[in-house]
Every structure is written in C-alpha cells, then in structure tokens.
Amino acid sequence: MAAKGESWTRSEAAQGYALIAPPAIYAVLLLAAPLATILAYSFFKDGYLTVIHEFTVQNYIATWSDPIFRVILVRSLFVAGLVTLATVALAFPIAYFLSFGLEPSKKARWILLITIPFWTSYLIRVFLWKVILGYNGVVNSALESLGIIGPNGLIADPLQMLNSVGAITLTLAHAYAPFAILPIFVSLEKIDRSLLEAGQDLGESRWRTFLRVTLPLAMPGVVAATLIVFIPTVGDYVTPELIGGGKIPMVANLIQAQMLPLDNRPLGSAIAVSSLLVVGALALLFLWLNRRFLKAGK
C-alpha cells in the first residue's frame, strides 16, 4: 500500500512539474538566462574584441568612477521622473473621466480610443514627434504661416525644439500615457460608488470626499502606474537617440555604445547591472515610502 501511495504522489508531483514546465522554461530561457549572462559578463575582463573569461570587479570600478556614467544615470533618472510625473498627473484626470464621467456602456469604446496610439509601432510614434517638433516641422510651419515666426513676427527664427530634455519628456509621456491611464482606471472602477455617497452623507463635500475616499482608494493604481512608467523610461533607447539626436544620451544609449561600437561587452554589462540595481533600489524605496505614507494617513 505504502509503495503504491508513494508512486501515486510521485506521479502527482510529476504532473505538477509538467504543468508548470512551459512557463518555467519560458522564464528561465527568456528572463533568467539573459540576466545571468549579463551578470556573468560584467565580471569578465575585456580583451579588446574578445572577452577574457577571468573574474574581475574592474568593470564596476570603471563604471562608478566614470563621471560620464554618473551624469548620464542622473539624467536618465531625472527624465524618467519627469515623464512619470507628467504622465501620472495627466493620466489621473483622464482615468477619472473614464470611470466616473461615462455611462458603463460607453467605457469600452473610450478605452479602445485610448489604445489607438498602440496600433502603430513605437518607432513610428517617435518619428511623428520628430516631424511635429522639427526645425521645418508641423509646429514651426504653422507658426510661420500664422506670421508669428518670421522677419516681421514675434520670433525671428524657427523654434529649436528637438534635441532637448523637454522634447524627450514629451515624446515619452505620450508613448506611456495608456500604461498610466489603465491601472488608475482599474483602481477607480473598483471603488464602490456607495462609498462616495457615504462620504457626502457623512457631511463632506464632493471635493473633500474625493480627497478622503476616492484618492486613497485609487492609490494602488497610481503606484502601479508610477512603476510601470518609470522603470521602462529610465532604460529607453529609441527616444533619446531620435528625439535627442544622440546629443542627450541616456543609460541605454551608453550601454549600447559600450556593447556594439566600442565592443566592450563586460563594461556594458556592468553598466547595465549597475543601472538595474539603482532602478530596483529606487522602486523598492518608492513602495516602502508609499506604504509608510498610507499607514500614516490612517
């Protein structure tokens, strides 16, 4: 009996492993293995055009003692912070309108409209901003035809909008807006509407009810939106390359430069791991502060 029971458990366990195998294989091959490779490379020596498989921490020392790395990392974090702030601040009213300002039957239609930017590739959207903001772009030509820009206008020369932190921020904020709107929308949708009536019934105005009931209950969505926007924008490669004209590199551009043109893969890996750790630490700090804040609010 005992042997039979054992083999039964074994087959049960085997079934379990078989069930989780596809996602496990996926996770190992596509997430864990590349990360481990980068981590391993960051501890190898660079032998110019080859990689010498010997352990060293020289890459990390080089990364952190390089003032350029620090400037670029701080810039990446600053741009990502700016993008996150702008995106979440603009996404909240839109999500609020979607959740509270629309009849339930119309919500799906509006959400579809919000996803329209995703129907074209990210690269094309970035190019579109280049067309809009460029020297001979949509904005400048419009202002010129209105006579605002020109010899007799308020401004003599067309505006120089590309190749700036502002243009990068604008492009990224536009690209990531739906990522911020949707989690906030979901958390607003989950709020029981009778809670808002209860707030007013207990003597609070609509605005006060919003501050005391709606906003705290929407915080999980705001936190999710913040992380979803912040983490990928720190490592964005395309926008600084195209909108920044390569003149305002961010971390991803630096990594790319080490990996391919300079062919120093160990140093590139060390920069990648370093920025990963910094972003991870910041995300954890943000979650911790948020929890503290929510507790203090009670």
Partner: protein, 363 residues
C-alpha cells in the same frame, strides 16, 4: 396631529427619462417614529428614501425635513444619515476612523472625539473593536459599524436602505430586535426600506406599502394585516385566502355576500375594503382565522366541511390546504401544533370553523 411632521412628502414626482418612478407621493412621517417603506423591487421605495437623503432630485413636488424644504440642499448639508444596503464601510480605514469619519469638522478636541467614537461603538455592541481593519469584519459587524457611524452625528432622521437583507436569518432576527431597542433609546426618527413584509411588521410603528411608484396603503402593522385596503396589499403582506363572492344585500352597517361553499356571509361595513377589486367581489381571510375542528369540537359561529389537500409541517405550525365542499380551489389554514394533537393526513375529511369578524370583503 398638531406636531410638525419630521418628514413631509408633497406630491413628489420623479421621472427617469420616460419612466415615472414616483407618482405623486404625499405622506408624513412623525418625529420619533419607526417608519417603513415596504414594497416589491422596483416599486420606488429606495428612490423615495434617496430623495430624503439628497441623492436623488425630484422632478416636482417637495420634500420637507423638520419643516424645511430640501429643494437644492445637497446630501452633505441635510440633517439625515444613511445606513447603506452594502454598508459602504470605507475599506482603507479602521473601524474607529470609519465611525469618526463625519466628525472632521466637529470642533471638539481629539480626545473628546475618540470618546464619542468609543461610546458609539459601545452602543452598537462593538466595544474595543476600534483599532480593527474595517475589511476584516463580518457582515453583522459591518452593519453595526455603519449604524454607529451614522448615529454618532445625531441626525434628525436615520435612513436605512435594506440594511438586513444581506445577513443570514438568525443574525437578521437578532438585529431587528436590536434596531427596535436602539431606536427607542436614541429617539431618532428611523425610515427603513425593505421588501420583507415580516421585517416591516416586526419593526415598524407605521408602514407605507408601495406599488409602482405609489403608496397603496399607509397604516400601522396591525391595520395593514387585518384590514388591507386592496387585494394587492393583502397579497403582499402575509398569506390571504380569497374566495369569489357576490354581494346580495346591504343593510345599515352590514353587507351580505354570498360565497360558494360558505353560504351567505354578513360582513361589517368597517371590514369592507375601499379599493375596488374588479368586477368580482371577494372575501378574504388569513390562514389563522380559520380553525380545523377535531372530533367532538363544536364550531363557534359557523362551520363548513372539506377534505385536506396538502399538509406542510413547520414544527410550531402546520399549514393545511383544505378543499371545502362546493369550492374550486383549496383554502390555506394554519394551525398551531399542540402537544398530543396529531397532525392530520392528506385526504382526511374535516370540519372548518370561521368567524365572520375576521373576514375582509373586497369589492
């Protein structure tokens, strides 16, 4: 009544687009009264309650609270508080913070407010629960928190929107008794919305029965039960047997009606329902106003004969469906079960006694 009503509805109409939800409600609720709005779902009872709270604008007419017209007064400025059907407990706050939610603008010190909260929790039997997270409470506890949160503000009127419908039977019955006690203790006017006729009968001083946006009858529980003014009200509240009748004569205070199987019945004019019941008049009686007669028992006033069609045993009671001789449909009779008296079987021939005073004539 010379005292001013606590709530007065004057010809209140409410339209949702084309839908006429409230059709000219006129009624008064007295101060300190336990008042119920009773009706099937969709009859407008919740809408009417929400016009008091200020969550629903009215299309025409007026709602007065303590003599003051509430037109244009928002919910947060009305002297009412509400216990919501879902309780609407703030999930991000503790029990004490929920109860103290409405005290923000109160000028008293923090310590005094904390004391008020503690007292309110004690009143609803949740002493010492203040620090608990609201989302960890049971249904009955949430209900109590909602009550404490509303009563701590000492409203003129407490509005209760089906507050007991989500609780299981035992807790519901216990909460009914507690609510009655609480209402007597605080002396605040309670307005309860319910679709449960038993709950309304148990708890209320007066009940307004509503159908399709209109008040069909407004009376105390006993009058509603004994003298419903229409077949519809009679049908909604408890069980009532209806027998087709023909009015054959009217003399002074009595009306004579002919009922197949029972013969000519004399009904006091006070027992005649005002609302017409269509072409065919009917005589109605409650199951407990009929009695099965056992061997050797003598009928009080009148008796008829019949055969038991169905027996439903409830422990303390037994319901018998008895087909009386000369009648098409059986009538339902309830009998209290007494020790030593056997429950009769289906098919038994039996005698049934009734008293004419318990009949209601609908014509």
């Amino acid at each position: 009544m010379t005292t001013q009503p606590m709530i007065a509805f004057r010809e209140v109409h409410k339209y949702y687009g084309d839908y006429h939800a409230l059709r000219g409600i006129t009624a008064e609720i007295r101060p300190g009264e336990f008042f119920s709005l009773l009706g099937p779902s969709g009859c407008g009872k919740t809408t009417l309650l929400r016009t008091i709270a200020g969550f629903e604008d009215i299309s025409s007419g007026a709602v007065l609270i303590d003599g003051r017209d509430m037109a244009g007064v928002p919910a947060n400025k009305r002297p009412t508080n509400m216990v919501f059907q879902s309780y609407a407990i703030f999930p991000h706050l503790s029990v004490a913070q929920n109860v103290g939610f409405g005290l923000r603008r109160d000028t008293r010190s923090k310590g005094e407010k904390a004391k008020l909260v503690e007292e309110a929790l004690e009143m609803v039997g949740l002493k010492g629960y203040g620090a608990r997270a609201a989302h960890a409470l049971s249904g009955g506890q949430r209900q109590r928190v909602a009550l404490a949160r509303a009563l701590i503000l000492k409203p003129k009127v407490l509005l209760l929107d089906e507050p007991l419908s989500a609780l299981d039977r035992k807790i519901r019955e216990q909460m009914q008794v507690e609510l009655i006690k609480l209402q007597r203790e605080v002396g605040i006017t309670f307005v309860l919305v319910t679709h449960d006729q038993e709950e309304a009968l148990v708890m209320s001083d007066r009940i307004a029965v509503m159908f399709e946006g209109e008040i069909a009858q407004l009376a105390d529980p006993e009058t509603l039960y004994r003298r419903p003014n229409s077949r519809r009200v009679a049908d909604f509240i408890g069980v009532m047997n209806f027998l087709p009748a023909t009015v054959t004569g009217e003399r002074g205070d009595t009306i004579t009606a002919e009922v197949a199987g029972l013969g000519a019945l004399e009904v006091a004019r006070s027992q005649v329902s005002l609302a017409p019941a269509g072409d065919q008049a009917a005589v109605g009686f409650r199951p407990e106003t009929l009695t099965l007669l056992y061997e050797g028992q003598q009928a009080g006033d009148r008796e008829a004969q019949g055969v038991i069609d169905e027996v439903v045993y409830y422990g303390d009671m037994t319901y018998y469906d008895v087909r009386l001789d000369g009648m098409e449909r059986p009538v339902r009779i309830s009998m209290r079960n007494v020790f030593g008296r056997p429950v009769l079987d289906v098919g038994t021939r039996t005698r049934v006694a009734w008293s004419p005073g318990a009949l209601v004539l609908f014509r």
